[in-house]
């Protein structure tokens, strides 16, 4: 188990390194520079700016400095927002996105998994059909449709909830609902599938033949195995919630990482793009690692391989 974790950890580091390099060289190879703007800047000033940010050095040297800086936890200055370092921006906006993302993921799990379990246990009844039809709709609606739709109904028509900004708890509800509905639907379907597979196993018949009550069979005998598909999906779900946050944070005007990411890309803010990409990648790698560990912990047959 320790060996497995160490191995996955190393793999994760390599992936991060690769992502860092690819992003860096892609950004460096893109025509134009962060400092080219509509306003004409006198050449000597431009040269000064470029020297300040290290753009006068050859690209490999820049890569090396940038990489060593990043490893020591320093992402560099924002190339567009004067006097603000990438670290500052992350420190300010990451908690916002983290809060939105984790609440959305948690809501998706808390809604999706119990729904999936009940649908599997009561398969082919309305407790199965209704949630599964709703979840089909949830999966088919993209966030950029779901978001405005929810904002329209709950914000503008019913006037129950605020539709933009980030000031109090009530501001979380609509964006989190937008983000989590899709994943709740997905988790529900995955859990239903996983549980159905378990409930059809021979060992369930053995348990019933021993006189084990139905719900004990569900949570004691089937839950571990039945949750495996959902757990495996945690990594991709987090990735999706993060990229979904680009859209949702823009729709609901939330000052999180996603919004910064969009701005950084539009403004060609090289250091910010790099910093945010690495941060997102690290999040996904960590979540995948956690999901793998959970997977192994749930399935005793994997522990020895």
């Amino acid at each position: 188990m320790a060996k497995f974790i160490a191995l996955r950890f190393l793999q994760g580091l390599l992936v991060l390194l690769a992502i860092y390099a690819i992003t860096f060289f892609l950004v460096a190879a893109t025509p134009g520079s962060p400092f080219s703007s509509e306003r004409a800047i006198p050449p000597h000033i431009l040269a000064q700016i470029e020297a300040f940010y290290g753009y006068d050095k050859p690209v490999l040297e820049r890569f090396w400095t940038s990489l060593t800086n990043t490893l020591s936890g320093e992402f560099g200055p924002s190339a567009v927002y004067a006097n603000r370092s990438v670290t500052d921006i992350i420190a300010e906006s990451f908690p916002v996105s983290l809060k939105l993302g984790s609440i959305s993921l948690l809501a998706a799990l808390l809604i999706g998994i119990p729904t999936g379990i009940v649908a599997a246990v009561r398969r082919n009844t309305w407790l199965d059909y209704v949630p599964m039809s709703v979840s089909m709709a949830g999966i088919c609606l993209p966030t950029f449709v779901m978001g405005p739709l929810l904002a329209l109904v709950f914000g503008l028509i019913l006037r129950l909830l605020p539709v933009s900004g980030w000031y109090g708890p009530e501001y979380i509800i609509l964006p989190a609902a937008t983000l989590s509905l899709y994943y709740a639907a997905y988790f529900a379907r995955l859990t239903r599938g996983g549980m159905l597979e378990m409930l059809n196993q021979d060992f369930v018949r053995t348990a019933r033949a021993k006189g084990v009550p139905e719900w004990t069979i569900v949570w004691k005998h089937c839950l571990k195995g039945g949750l495996i598909p959902a757990i495996t999906f945690l990594g991709p779900a987090l990735a999706g919630i993060i990229s979904g946050s680009f859209v949702v944070e823009t729709i609901f005007q939330i000052p999180g990482l996603g919004q910064w990411f969009v701005k950084a890309a539009l403004n060609r803010d090289d250091f910010l793009i790099l910093g945010l990409t690495v941060l997102f990648a690290a999040l996904i790698v960590v979540m995948n690692l956690l999901a793998d560990i959970a997977h192994v912990a749930l399935n005793p047959r994997l522990k020895y391989e």
Partner: protein, 339 residues
């Protein structure tokens, strides 16, 4: 009074394409401490009969008729909670495939202790002790350590031993063993059957032993029920079925016992395929495969069971000429099948 009296049991599966009459009027009795064999080829309804006794039939299946009197109580009328007391408490069951019948996600200890906690007042520790002792009794070395393993750490034979130990933990009155050795190596089969017999003698458990091998039955059972296409075609003592089979199907099964075969190394198999259970039976279900000369095309209800001698009954078939010596008919059929 018999411990178990199954009377005219009918279990149908209501499929989209029609009704599959998997069990269509099965009757038999099991006395205390007795071993009763149920024999028949694949698809004859042996497992469905067993599951029906414990009401372990799922949709689209339904028990549509008959009674299962167990110790004076009709299990088909019992409440669900009463059934849970009986399952694993007074009637236990072991299954064909020990690889899939144990839960791979739970330790053996968890699975064995669970049964004891459900059916006895033992606390966790006492239950664990009892489970360890049970594993030792079925010949598992270092049981106190190995009980904490997961099923995949055991071989197939060992797992079936675990299944037997688990099933007998609560000292049930009746053990239903659905082909307990079919998935095992031949050498291990004998060991497991011996173990079953040995435990039975200690505990006085009655056993229903399902198998498709008449040879297994001969060595282990007192009485035998032969099933074909969801019905009983013959029942009697092991000796009667083994040495004096009456029904053509029983005779064919007897011919198929490997050790009784005389024709070189070739194995005799019953020719033809079992009938489609979703079609109603016209007269004798075995008619299309029957090796005797045919007399009349069958129609009407299946033949009644008639008593041949004390304790020996069989379907009395009128559609074939039973006067020709069986040996001739079957041997010629065998050679035909081989040529």
């Amino acid at each position: 009074m018999a411990l178990l009296h199954v009377q005219d049991l009918k279990t149908y599966f209501f499929m989209r394409g029609g009704v599959v009459r998997a069990v269509d009027g099965v009757s038999f009795e099991v006395e205390r401490g007795q071993t009763v064999g149920i024999v028949g080829e694949s698809g004859s309804g042996k497992s469905v009969s067993c599951y029906s006794i414990l009401r372990l039939i799922d949709e689209p299946g339904r028990i549509v008729g008959g009674s299962v009197m167990f110790d004076g109580e009709d299990l088909l009328q019992a409440t669900n909670s009463r059934m849970r007391e009986i399952r694993g408490g007074r009637i236990s069951m072991i299954f064909q495939d020990p690889m899939t019948s144990l839960n791979p996600f739970l330790r053996i200890s968890t699975q064995m202790v669970e049964t004891l906690r459900l059916h006895t007042d033992l606390d966790q520790r006492a239950a664990l002790h009892k489970a360890i002792a049970a594993l030792e009794e079925v010949g598992i070395a270092e049981a106190s350590k190995r009980i904490h393993s997961y099923p995949h750490e055991f071989s197939g034979g060992m797992r079936q031993r675990v299944m037997i130990a688990s099933a007998l933990l609560t000292e049930p009155d009746l053990l239903i063993a659905d082909e307990p050795t079919t998935a095992l190596d031949v050498t291990i089969q004998a060991q497991v059957l011996d173990l079953l017999k040995q435990r039975q003698e200690r505990l006085g458990t009655a056993i229903i032993l399902v198998t498709h091998d008449l040879g297994v039955v001969a060595g282990t059972c007192e009485r035998v029920n032969v099933m074909y296409a969801g019905r009983d075609v013959e029942s009697g003592t092991a000796d009667q079925i083994f040495y004096d089979p009456h029904h053509a199907y029983t005779q064919a099964l007897q011919k198929a016992i490997p050790s009784l075969q005389t024709k070189g190394d070739l194995l005799y198999t019953v020719p033809g395929m079992p009938p489609d259970l979703s079609k109603p039976v016209q007269g004798c279900a075995f008619y299309p495969r029957c090796p005797y000369p045919k007399l009349a095309p069958p129609d009407g209800p299946p033949p009644e069971l008639v008593v041949l001698t004390e304790g020996h009954c069989a379907q009395d078939c009128q559609y074939c000429d039973r006067s020709k010596p069986i040996e001739d008919v079957l041997t010629s059929d065998v050679t035909e099948a081989f040529e």
